[in-house]
Each structure stands twice: as structure tokens, then as C-alpha cells.
């Protein structure tokens, strides 16, 4: 908006320059870039018609732009109160003015070297817009016109230092947390195959035992000899597995431990009786 505003003001100023007799303007204006590796060609600037914007003036690093002009009020050279060369960075609208040092006869010059420029100008992607303002008090019409475009070339070996952007209160980009991916199970079919393979071992084992002559023929004999001990012992072993199952499915540690202690004690006491019976059988040569 600022930009628009100043342009409109400039346009108004231009239009007024045509018909008002006592208006500010300049003449005999030249610009020159001096410094290492820069062509020292002078270029003429005329009030009201900017140097073609398609070919901006190039200001290489560590060189100086020199603009000379003669300020005039009406047709006579005169010293204005304000004689500025204003550079504007087009994207951000930032401006910086450099005052001409003007003699009483209106002859003025200004030197702008790249080291005088703010970093935003040095890093600008587009050429800077340079305009000349000549104005003073009283009723004379001021002059403000686009003069030329200026392209800043930086020394590629030492790019300008860009300070970190100052903090401004505004909204910030959104952030969405990226979650770690969940652990993955292998394909169900593989798990199933292995599960099956594991389960098959149980019948396999029992089959192998039976094949090798395992049997439960002494069941009656054992229970006949010490029914309580054997019943309790086998029962407590199964019960212990039951306790484990309950721990797995629903119990907490403090429900499990007493139960396991009771079952364990039963197993220990009855087991010693039952195993004595087994030993008796072994000693009798029946095992």
C-alpha cells in the first residue's frame, strides 16, 4: 500500500511538473559505476523518463555508484532542501535514501557504494528501484521520479552476512507429530504354520513315549497304595498350571502368590508321600 501510495504521489508530481512553472526538476544528470572490474561508462538520466528497466545498472561488489545532477527550480539551478536518491527493494518495499550534497548552484552528487547498503538490498533477487526526489519548502512543486534500476552483484567469494531474522509475533507453521510405526508381526500364515509345528510336537512326544513302551498301567496300583497322596500330588501339579493360567489371564501377583504357595505346599507334602510309593515300587523292581 505504501508503494502504491508513493507511486501515485510520484505520478501526481510528474503531472504537476508539466504545467506548474515553478517546479523542481534536474538536468545534466549522469550516473557512473566506478570500481574494480566495472565499466566506467557514464549514462545520462533525464528527468521524467527512467533508464530502460530491461537493462538495470549493475553495481558489482566493492564498487561505487556515482550520480551527478544539477537541481533546478524552474529552469535555474538552485539548492533544494531535499535531494535524495532513494533505493527501494521491490518485494519488501524497504527503502533507503541517500542525500545528494548540493552546491548553491544546484550541482549535486551522491556516492553509493555497496557497503553502504542494508543487507536486504544486497540479497534482493530483483533489481532495486532507484528514484530521485528533489523538493524544498514553499510553494514550488516537488519532483519525485523513477530514475533507473540497480542490480547489486555480490562478491561470490564473500556473500553478504545475513543476520538471523528478528523475532516477530505472528502465527507459526503447524507441526504434527510423526509417530513411530508400530511393531509389526510377521504374516499370520507363517505364525500359524509355526504354531502348528509347535503343537504337533505334543502328540509326537506322547506318541514317541507310547511307542517306547510308556503306559499308565500302574495307575490303579498307585492309587490303591496311597490314593490321597497320589490324587493330591497329580491334582496339585495340574492345579499349579491352572494357577499359572489364571495369572496369565486375570490374576495379579498378590492373588497368585498365596495360591501358588498353597498348591506348592500341597504338592511338596503329597509329593513326598507319592514318590515314596513310587520308590517302593522301584525297589520292588516294578519300575
Amino acid at each position: 500500500m505504501k508503494l502504491l501510495h508513493s507511486i501515485s504521489v510520484a505520478a501526481l508530481a510528474l503531472s504537476s511538473a508539466v504545467n506548474a512553472a515553478s517546479s523542481w526538476t534536474f538536468d545534466e544528470a549522469t550516473l557512473q559505476v566506478t570500481g574494480k572490474g566495472a565499466e566506467a561508462a557514464k549514462q545520462k538520466i533525464t528527468a521524467g523518463s527512467p533508464v530502460s528497466s530491461s537493462s538495470p545498472i549493475v553495481l558489482p561488489a566493492s564498487s561505487t555508484l556515482k550520480v551527478i545532477l544539477t537541481a533546478q527550480e524552474g529552469k535555474t539551478g538552485k539548492k533544494p532542501h531535499q535531494a535524495f536518491l532513494t533505493l527501494q527493494e521491490v518485494d519488501s518495499g524497504l527503502e533507503e535514501s541517500f542525500a545528494f550534497s548540493v552546491k548553491d548552484n544546484g550541482k549535486g552528487k551522491v556516492d553509493v557504494s555497496s557497503k553502504d547498503l542494508p543487507f536486504q538490498f544486497l540479497t534482493s533477487s530483483k533489481p532495486l528501484k532507484a528514484s530521485i526526489t528533489i523538493a524544498s519548502f514553499g510553494s514550488s512543486t516537488p519532483y519525485n521520479g523513477h530514475a533507473f534500476n540497480l542490480k547489486i552483484e555480490n562478491d561470490s567469494s564473500s556473500p553478504p552476512a545475513v543476520p538471523s531474522a528478528p523475532e516477530r509475533y505472528t502465527n507459526k507453521p503447524e507441526i504434527h507429530h510423526i509417530f513411530r510405526s508400530d511393531p509389526k508381526s510377521p504374516p499370520t500364515i507363517i505364525s500359524l504354520v509355526f504354531t502348528l509345528a509347535v503343537i504337533v510336537t505334543l502328540p509326537g512326544l506322547i506318541g514317541a513315549w507310547l511307542l517306547l513302551g510308556g503306559n499308565f498301567d500302574h495307575l490303579g496300583k498307585a492309587f490303591g497304595a496311597s490314593p490321597i497322596a497320589h490324587g493330591l500330588f497329580l491334582g496339585s501339579i495340574v492345579a499349579m498350571e491352572g494357577v499359572f493360567f489364571l495369572y496369565y489371564s486375570s490374576w495379579n501377583l498378590f492373588q497368585t502368590l498365596p495360591a501358588a504357595a498353597i498348591v506348592g505346599t500341597v504338592a511338596y507334602v503329597s509329593g513326598s508321600k507319592a514318590l515314596t510309593e513310587v520308590q517302593d515300587r522301584r525297589l520292588a523292581g516294578e519300575r
Binding site: 504537476s16 533507503e96 535514501s97 510553494s139 519525485n144 504434527h176 512326544l205 513302551g213 500302574h218
Partner: protein, 467 residues
């Protein structure tokens, strides 16, 4: 963070008498009793808006900004003084303490009188620079009032201030505002607390009429880098406004007829009165004051899923201190904005948004809060999201700091714990665990069969001869 809240509370208490959100006592420091009359319209306006004005001269021995160590006034209006200093009651340190105490200051400068050094060093603390020679003016040969300053060009006419996208404009007026003999301020680039309200046009510049009468060779500042009105809002939301032209508040300019020096422009009435009203309203906390109402966060899963749409919210555990990682949560915050004389629902300006951060050391989530509901004087903003998979002590953090709004900084600390031992998926749910589970049960079965075999197996008939 507490101070503005306290201020808001006080503001509420004094609701009946004052319309500012932070109290009604306004101290006007004016050097000459005789000058008081120059601003009579402004005073009337302020009094009509509910402020209790106290006029004091800086030389007044009884002048003190503090009472029992607390700021004695909610607001301070400093008009330009001719003396070189401001006296012992208004030293920079005291003024800084005054602002730190949560009070607002409207400082009016004038290019006619040199700026006291106390003001200068005070403004330097805020990173506002004034011209070194202290009597410089802003002048613009393109935008001046051709009626009153046809020769000197030192009455600048500017249209209503405009701001970039996402910044609320509290200062817009119709027509032109006149700034006679303004002192230009240059703002430092670092501070986010500063913002310019009225900038000079790009052809303006600062000059010292005494030394640079003929021409300027090295102006203090040029173009839009010059601020005619700038605003500073401290971290405690206390406001400090610098108005470059005290004259703009005078009755003379409230009803002046002004005209741009451009052919074809018409003379019109200046909008100074409206602007002075808006500027003082903002500075004295009648505008842009935000209030946080209820903040709620709660679990949004299991039986509480989607509960925010129902009326059962009251019955659940709201604002728990501990969550678990990957919990779904609901967060809501209620915000109101003070509009001259009442609390209104707040909505951020176009292009801006209220954001919630869920952060530990750095934000894990930063989400735009969505307005969900509106009450008579507040808007409820909500967001629903899944907590990150990182345990720790996190903050629900809403930090809404924007130019011209009082600061909102609401931190709710919660603990995000890890999965407890019984919150993981059970092993039978995981297909990869099936072989292992079946292995366990095969072992159990094998063991029982083995025990039985061991106990009850009858030896095979001695088919095999022993060795």
C-alpha cells in the same frame, strides 16, 4: 503472566465506573496549567469514556507514580514539557517500573520543544530512537497541509493507518489525520514488542530546522522508516504509545480543515479526533484486551470419546494431571476480547490463527485451534489430537502474542507417562506370539503327561536284554 490477569481482574471490579479493562485512573502530566485548555475536547472525551483524570505538573512535589510500592495510576499521559528534565518523580527508572507494574503510558512528543533527556533514555530502553539533536521535525514536501503549512511543510497529512495481513487494525479512521510538527521515531529491528502505528510517507525525512535550514546532507531517517506513532507492548501487556505530535491532540486540530498540496484535492475536516480516541482507547486498554476463560483438557477416548458434543463433560475427570502416550485428548480454551465497554467473543484477524502447542523442550504438536462454539461474550476454541509417543512432562501451551493484542500465555503442565505393564496388547492378540504361546502350553501338557508317565508307567516286559 499473572500481572495482566490481575489487571483484568481489577478491570472487572471497576467495571461500573470505568470502561477500560485495566482501571480508570489516568494521570496527565502537563507542565502548564494554562495549556490544559488546549486539549479540552480530548479531556472531555476521556472523561466521557469513564476515565478519572488527574492533572499534575512534573515539577509538582506531590507527584508520585507509586502508592505503597504499587502503581498509583493505571494510565499515564505525558505531554511535552519545556524543561530539560522531567523531575525526580518521572525518571526513566521510575517510568520503567511503572510499566513493569502493568500501567500504560501514552507519551506525546512535540517538535516544538526539545525532548527531555529522560524521555530519550527511556525510549532507548524500548529500542525507540529519537533524533540526536532533540528538536528535529518530520517534514514531507509531498503530503503536507497546504492550508496551515504551505511554507514550512511541517504539518503532515496522512490517511488512516493500514497494517499487513494478520494484524488487527484498531486505528482506522476516515479521512486524513494531521500531524503538526511531529517528532520522528526510528524503531530498532530486534524487538518484537514494538510496532509502528503510523509511518511517514516514503518522501518524508527528518531535519533540524535550526541547523539544517538550507538542505539536508545526512538525514537522521528517511521515508517509511520514520514512525510518527509507534506502539510498544511490554511482556506484561502494559502499553506504551509514542505519539510524535502532541499538537495533534489539541482542539485546534480536532476540528481543523486540511488539504493536500495536490491540485484537485479538496479541503476536508481532519480525523484527528477519531484517531486520538482510537489511539487512547488502545493505549488505555479499551481495545485489544484478551481474556482467557475456562481451559479444559480431557481424555477423548474409550467411554469419553466424543463427549465434548454432549453435556456430560461436567461429570468426567477434567484437566487430569497425567495422561498416557498415544492418548486421544480434547483441549478447549475460551477467549474473550474487550471491546470498549464489554467482553465480546474473540476471533483472530483474517490470516491469523490461535495456536496450541503441545511441547516438551520443543513443540511436538502445533495445531490451529478451531472455533467450536460461541457464548455471549466468548469464543470456545478446541482441538482434538493424539498425544505423541514420547513420555515426559509436557505443556498444553497457548501463546498468543500478536501486535496490539494483550498477551495470552496459558500453560497447563501434564505428565505423559509410558504404557503401564498391563496396557500393552495381550500376547494372544499379536499373531507373531502364537508359536511362543503354543510352545508354553505344549510344554505344560508335556510336563503333566511326563509326570503321569513317571508315576504310573509300568516297565515294559523285558524284551530287551540288559547288557
Amino acid at each position: 503472566m499473572r500481572l495482566p490477569l490481575l489487571g483484568l481482574l481489577l478491570g472487572l471490579l471497576s467495571f461500573v465506573s470505568a470502561l477500560s479493562a485495566s482501571g480508570s485512573k489516568l494521570l496527565v502530566v502537563i507542565e502548564d496549567e494554562a495549556d490544559k485548555g488546549k486539549y479540552s475536547q480530548f479531556w472531555t472525551d476521556l472523561e466521557n469514556r469513564g476515565f478519572q483524570l488527574t492533572y499534575r505538573s512534573p515539577k509538582d512535589a506531590s507527584l508520585s507514580l507509586f502508592l505503597h510500592g504499587e502503581p498509583a495510576y493505571s494510565h499515564l499521559l505525558l505531554l511535552p514539557v519545556r524543561a530539560k528534565g522531567l523531575g525526580p518523580a518521572l525518571t526513566p527508572n521510575l517510568l520503567v517500573d511503572f510499566v513493569n507494574g502493568g500501567s500504560n503510558v501514552l507519551l506525546a512528543l512535540s517538535g516544538e520543544q526539545s525532548v527531555p533527556s529522560a524521555i530519550n533514555s527511556l525510549l532507548l530502553e524500548l529500542d525507540i530512537n529519537l533524533p540526536a539533536d532533540r528538536t528535529s521535525l518530520v517534514v514531507d514536501h509531498f503530503n503536507f497541509d497546504s492550508k496551515s503549512a504551505a511554507e514550512k511543510h511541517d504539518v503532515i497529512l496522512l490517511p488512516s493507518p493500514e497494517f499487513k495481513k494478520g494484524v488487527k487494525n484498531y486505528f482506522s479512521v476516515d479521512g486524513l489525520i494531521a500531524f503538526p510538527r511531529a517528532v520522528g521515531q526510528v524503531l530498532g529491528n530486534a524487538s518484537p514488542l514494538l510496532s509502528s502505528v503510523v509511518k511517514a510517507p516514503s518522501t518524508a525525512y527528518v531535519y533540524n530546522p535550526k541547523e539544517e535550514g538550507e538542505s539536508v546532507e545526512d538525514p537522521f531517517a528517511t521515508g517509511s522508516q520514520i514512525n510518527i506513532v509507534s506502539a510498544f507492548q511490554a511482556r506484561n501487556s502494559a502499553r506504551f504509545t509514542v505519539l510524535g505530535s502532541a499538537e495533534a491532540l489539541e482542539d485546534k486540530w480536532f476540528s481543523a480543515s486540511v488539504q493536500l498540496p495536490v491540485p484537485g484535492s479538496k479541503a476536508e475536516k481532519s480525523s484527528n479526533k477519531a484517531f486520538a480516541q482510537k489511539l487512547s482507547a488502545w493505549t488505555f486498554m479499551e481495545l485489544g484486551v484478551l481474556k482467557v476463560g475456562q481451559i479444559q483438557h480431557y481424555l477423548n477416548e474409550g467411554s469419553q470419546k466424543g463427549i465434548s458434543n454432549t453435556s456430560e463433560v461436567a461429570s468426567i475427570d477434567v484437566n487430569p494431571e497425567i495422561y498416557r502416550i498415544k492418548n486421544d485428548v480434547h483441549y478447549s480454551i475460551e477467549l474473550s476480547e474487550w471491546e470498549i465497554d464489554h467482553w465480546a467473543p474473540f476471533s483472530p484477524p483474517q490470516g491469523d490463527s490461535l495456536q496450541l502447542e503441545f511441547s516438551m523442550l520443543s513443540p511436538f504438536h502445533r495445531l490451529n485451534l478451531q472455533p467450536k462454539a460461541q457464548t455471549a461474550n466468548s469464543t470456545i476454541y478446541t482441538s482434538e489430537f493424539k498425544l505423541p509417543d514420547q513420555h515426559g512432562i509436557f505443556n498444553f501451551f497457548v501463546e498468543y502474542r500478536r501486535p496490539f493484542f494483550t498477551n495470552v500465555e496459558e500453560k497447563r503442565t501434564v505428565t505423559v507417562r509410558h504404557f503401564a505393564h498391563d496396557e500393552w496388547p495381550r500376547s494372544y492378540v499379536i499373531s507373531g506370539a502364537w508359536p511362543w504361546i503354543s510352545g508354553i502350553w505344549v510344554t505344560v501338557g508335556g510336563w503333566i503327561v511326563f509326570v503321569a508317565l513317571w508315576l504310573y508307567s509300568k516297565p515294559a516286559e523285558p524284551k530287551v536284554k540288559t547288557r
